[in-house]
Amino acid sequence: MSRALSLRKFLGMARRDWSAEGDAALLRAASRGEEAACRTLLERHTPRLLGLLDRAQRDPALSEDLAQEAFLRALAQAHTLREEGAFFPWLARIALRLAIDAQRKRRLELTGPVPPELPSDRPPPDARLAQADDEAQVRAALERLRPRHREVLGLMYFGALSVREIASAVGRSEVAVRKDLERARRALRDELEPWFAEVSA
């Protein structure tokens, strides 16, 4: 008689199926060096995290670097995550801060002034360029906002987080986050007011 055991089964005591575990358990295990838990956590959250980072800054390769860094920082600070289900908002906040820092560094590295806006005396040749113009204007305005406002807007629009998730990420109440969002939207619109006036003239 012969029996064949898959290696996974054979090593059943050492390897474990982590797919049904919650994020907090995965994070704790991954921070202890459990590869399978780390892999499950990464597989679960990397696509959404990359989406956030791609929107927060426009360099896909840099997004991958920042995603790695965000995961490593999360693993290093695993003991500070208390609430089950709050992992992604927490990770998103770490990633967004990294993206903001990276943009700041990149600006400092550039020689000469950064053009705050695309030339406005040329009409955009097609809708794609018009959209790119909108994006450049909005991003430039976003960078001029207070960090608190920039953070809540980034988590909402880049990370597609709900108000509840943002509240969990920033450690404030949902009411406070709604107020911040409202103020942030107004501030952003105020920053863009001259541009809107120019394009509608």
């Binding site: 064949a4 996974r8 050492a14 991003r139 709900s162």
Partner: protein, 156 residues
């Protein structure tokens, strides 16, 4: 609160996905009466489109794989790179256990990207004889142990 301010509040709620049907109706009425609100709404739609714009990228599975590899390389406690060959050693009391055959050992297993494809075949086993097995894996070029397990026991 002025009608315009109320309209702005309702627009905020809509952005947050928290607008009730009655509030949606209220917004519709305000929109008709407040041209200023229509202008602000159009500006906001433009801002939100810009904020939510996607960057065209490679398939996310490739990018995710690169991120996982990057984390594995940099995370203390995980192997610095995937092992190219894993060997298994049986340090054990095989007395009376018959013959254990290990084969199909491992093309290029990666700790983070998949389980090793080895299979253990057991032939001519004697029932109820415990076999103590210790498994170790090495990264072949550097002979560096990558993920040892504690000794454990198999009972057939």
């Amino acid at each position: 609160m002025s009608p315009l301010e109320r309209g702005l509040e309702l627009l905020s709620l809509r952005s947050e996905g928290a607008l009730s049907p009655s509030e949606a109706l209220e917004l519709e009425r305000l929109r008709v009466r407040q041209p200023e609100l229509r202008r602000v709404e159009a500006e906001w739609s433009r801002i939100e489109r810009a904020l939510r714009a996607q960057v065209p990228t490679e398939p996310s599975s490739w990018r995710g794989q690169r991120v996982r590899r990057g984390v594995a390389q940099r995370l203390p406690g995980l192997p610095s790179r995937p092992p190219t060959l894993v060997r298994w050693s049986l340090g054990a009391s095989l007395v009376g256990a018959g013959l254990l055959v290990l084969r199909s050992l491992l093309g290029s297993p990666s700790v983070l990207d998949g389980e090793p494809a080895a299979r253990l075949e057991v032939a001519r086993v004697q029932p109820a004889v415990p076999v103590s097995v210790e498994v170790r894996a090495w990264d072949e070029p550097e002979r560096q142990e990558v993920h040892p397990t504690a000794p454990f026991e198999l009972r057939f």
